[in-house]
């Protein structure tokens, strides 16, 4: 039934795994840039801006990532663009990531005691200056562990791109399975692939968190 050796399977999964990594990097980098802009706008903006960003965050956190992918894919078609699975997946995952990071980072900025804002203000620093010199450096230390932790969610999220036809690790797994029919081995290997990508990040995030709170900064 099968002419595939284990090495054939592994090789094909590794090749497809590259795209999981690339898509993760795109989503994370793009998401971080958009997320940062949103965080700053949300902290400093007028209420309609804050309200809109909050809505944006709630929408992405309150709906399935799979639906967001479908909407990006089919929505572009409605707008008259013929987008590839690549583009749709990149856009959807970037927006998804930006919403979650915006939420995480807002929490970190808010965790900086309000006395710090007041101290910066009485020294004559304006909003951006206070943010840049006083608040962000402190918020950054708080933000690193959960941000690293969330990168794991991004990597796992890329698996859903398989559903709109993007060939990454999971899609390669289903395609290989259709040809080789060794589901137990193949999906165990696919899972292992994700585990190898995610577990070190999870461990690192936990380590950072321990270091941060172990040092008594809060």
């Amino acid at each position: 039934m099968t002419d595939f050796t284990l090495w054939d399977i592994v090789r094909n999964l590794l090749l497809a795994g590259r795209w999981t990594v690339v898509l993760s990097l795109i989503a994370f980098t793009g998401g971080a840039v958009v997320g940062l802009v949103l965080t700053l706008a949300r902290m400093g903006g007028l209420w309609p801006v804050r309200w809109l960003i909050r809505l944006y965050v709630d929408l992405f956190q309150g709906t399935p990532l799979l639906m967001q992918l479908f909407l990006a894919y089919f929505g572009a078609a409605v707008l008259g663009f013929d987008v590839s699975a690549w583009t749709a997946a990149s856009v959807a995952l970037t927006l998804f990531t930006s919403a979650f990071l915006c939420d995480i980072w807002r929490g970190c900025v808010e965790a900086v005691p309000s006395g710090q804002w007041q101290a910066a203000r009485v020294l004559g620093l304006n909003y951006l200056q206070s943010m840049r010199h006083v608040i962000l450096p402190q918020a950054l230390r708080l933000a690193v562990p959960p941000t690293v932790g969330f990168s794991v969610q991004v990597i796992k999220g890329t698996a859903l791109a398989s559903v709109i036809g993007f060939v990454e690790l999971t899609k390669a797994g289903t395609m290989l399975n259709n040809a080789a029919f060794a589901p137990f081995t193949i999906f165990a290997l696919v899972a292992l692939g994700y585990f190898i990508l995610c577990y070190p990040l999870s461990r690192y995030a936990r380590h950072l968190e321990k270091k941060l709170y172990g040092a008594g900064i809060r």
Partner: protein, 227 residues
């Protein structure tokens, strides 16, 4: 680029059927997943040595594997992989199993944080009163731990509900499956997915409200002030 939602009307039944499936999958998963998490958290809380140390380590591995792999892969592994070992299960059972195992692992980890923050004095008071480890866990540790991590627990249950959209990929007739089904008939993908996405959003809001309602009753003890 005109939107036309009227083409959805003939498919109301399909959407309803999908909605019912998504809701009951979520309800069963929430109950069973939290129960599983309690057992796992208790077992992991035990000694790190001897036979219970091995159990604790195995459960730790289970939690890590679930947390560091995508839900869709877990689902495929159970649905396609288990029959290859001679254990054949229906798509619905596979979906339910995958969801429960997923929520169980995350919740066990969330709960552990709550248990770890139990004050030493509470343990000592329970011991001084003669409670065994299990009695102390059940009567003294569990409820305050739940109340401390309840916000994270709510979020996790919502994540699992939203994640359940993936079970459509093994042909479980849930809300997403209904959307795919309609899309394949009327070719109005965007409209269908927009409507279904909004339904998910309402489900998420509803689930949160339900949890908060239950939480207010369950954790009334947290409110101070005179009685």
């Amino acid at each position: 680029m005109t939107l036309d939602f009227s083409t959805l009307l003939p498919y109301t039944d399909a959407i309803l059927e999908g909605l019912v499936t998504t809701v009951w999958l979520t309800v069963v998963t929430t109950v069973a997943g939290i129960a599983l998490a309690i057992v796992v958290a208790y077992a992991r809380d035990g000694s790190r040595e001897g036979p219970s140390g091995i159990v604790s380590r195995l459960l730790g591995a289970y939690v890590e594997v679930i947390r560091n792999t995508p839900f869709i892969v877990q689902l495929f592994f159970l649905f396609f992989g288990l029959p290859a070992l001679g254990v054949s299960i229906s798509a619905t059972v596979a979906a339910l199993l995958a969801m429960i195992l997923n929520l169980g692992a995350y919740t066990a980890e969330i709960l552990r944080a709550g248990i770890d923050s139990t004050l030493k004095g509470q343990h000592e008071a329970a011991r001084a009163l003669g409670l065994s480890r299990l009695q102390s866990f059940r009567h003294v540790v569990l409820m305050p731990a739940f109340s401390r991590v309840y916000p994270s627990l709510i979020s996790q249950c919502i994540i699992v509900m939203l994640g359940s959209a993936v079970v459509s990929q093994i042909s479980v007739f849930d809300l997403t499956y209904a959307a795919n089904f309609i899309q394949s008939r009327n070719f109005r993908g965007f409209e269908v997915y927009l409507v279904v996405t909004l339904i998910y959003l309402l489900l998420a809001v509803g689930l949160r409200l339900a949890f908060e309602f239950v939480g207010r009753r369950l954790f009334a003890f947290r409110q101070g002030g005179s009685s």
